[in-house]
């Protein structure tokens, strides 16, 4: 799967949700598809997107929180998978785009390139559902089930290590942060 096509396939399923992403290629592609005020792109703080998503999911139990993670980021916070699993927020969907490389910094391979299985790790950490998907149809099906379902889920999407045409996002880091917080406040009121 090309990451851009993968994101385009599931964008309609997540665009009205609270979304937290890692930095790099993934947020650039998501931003290009259409920014929403409920999207927070974590530039830096590698590994912590899932922890931020956990805090959001625990404090906003009536919202569905989508975390877009990457293989390199998950590997940097593997222990966080056990924290998410033991906290077990039923409204968190953890989608990991696994391109088997540190794409944004030059493409060095991550451990998933030599066999590390993130879905198996998530499952063993205690995620009730953790699947690996390799086609757009499988991805759509898995994300639909997770978004419409009522339990914590992890979906590892195997994608090609293809960078976007541009990493540019016309959105200041703090602008995104404050806009995101305000968007969440208005959802809480509504």
């Amino acid at each position: 799967m090309l990451p851009k096509e993968a994101l385009r396939t599931i964008y309609p399923l997540v665009e009205d949700k609270i979304v937290v992403t890692i930095m790099g290629a993934l947020p650039a592609e998501l931003y290009a598809l259409g920014h929403r005020k409920s999207f927070f792109y974590v530039e830096h703080s590698m590994g912590l997107a899932s922890s931020i998503g956990l805090g959001l999911a625990l404090c906003l139990p009536h919202e569905k929180v989508i975390v877009f993670d990457g293989d390199g980021s998950v590997l940097m916070n593997l222990g966080g998978l056990t924290t998410v699993a033991s906290s077990h927020p039923r409204n968190l969907v953890h989608i990991i785009f696994d391109n088997q490389s540190f794409l944004s910094t030059g493409g060095s391979p991550t451990a998933t390139a030599s066999g590390t299985d993130l879905a198996a790790i998530a499952q063993a950490a205690g995620y009730p559902t953790a699947v690996t998907v390799r086609t757009l149809d499988e991805l759509r099906e898995a994300v639909t089930a997770a978004v419409e379902g009522d339990d914590l889920a992890c979906i590892v999407a195997k994608v090609e290590a293809v960078a976007p045409a541009s990493f540019h996002m016309d959105l200041g880091l703090l602008e995104n942060r404050f806009e995101f917080a305000r968007a969440l406040r208005s959802r809480v009121k509504a």
């Binding site: 912590l48 959001l56 917080a181």
Partner: protein
Amino acid sequence: MPVSIANSTVVYDALKAVEVRLISVLPETWLVPTVRLANEDPEMTVVPVAKEEEAVGIAAGAHFAGTKSALLMQNHGLLSSVNGIVSLAMLYKIPLLMLISYRGGLGERDPWQTMGGSKTIPVLQALGIPYDELSDPASVAKQVRDAQSLAESSLAPVALLLTRSLMWEE
């Protein structure tokens, strides 16, 4: 275990009084009674983390959601959280109320705590994190309130060091 139950209760009550409703924690000896109080409190969400840096992310999520939270960790947890503190909390202007057990200070008997003890305040100073030491139970409530006020008005981390004289009964 000579951890002060009475003063742990003072610390916990102070957190409740400032409407903290989520605590992320990696417990150590001095924090065990405080964490037990949190676990027994149906109003408190407790997130036991595997490594303290996760707590910075969880606090950010809670803040965005409008929930007041606190982080409980040992000073070595502070040391292992520095990247998250800098690249998330400071970069993104996230308030953090950090309660840090200040091991390795005067009176410490565990040799393995002494190095971290000697680096705690220098690291806080290097990061520019305002801090205060909690020693007197009579002033804990005000110090916690003041720390939270500053964290929220400055949108930045503030540290409270739980000292041996507060947490330990010889």
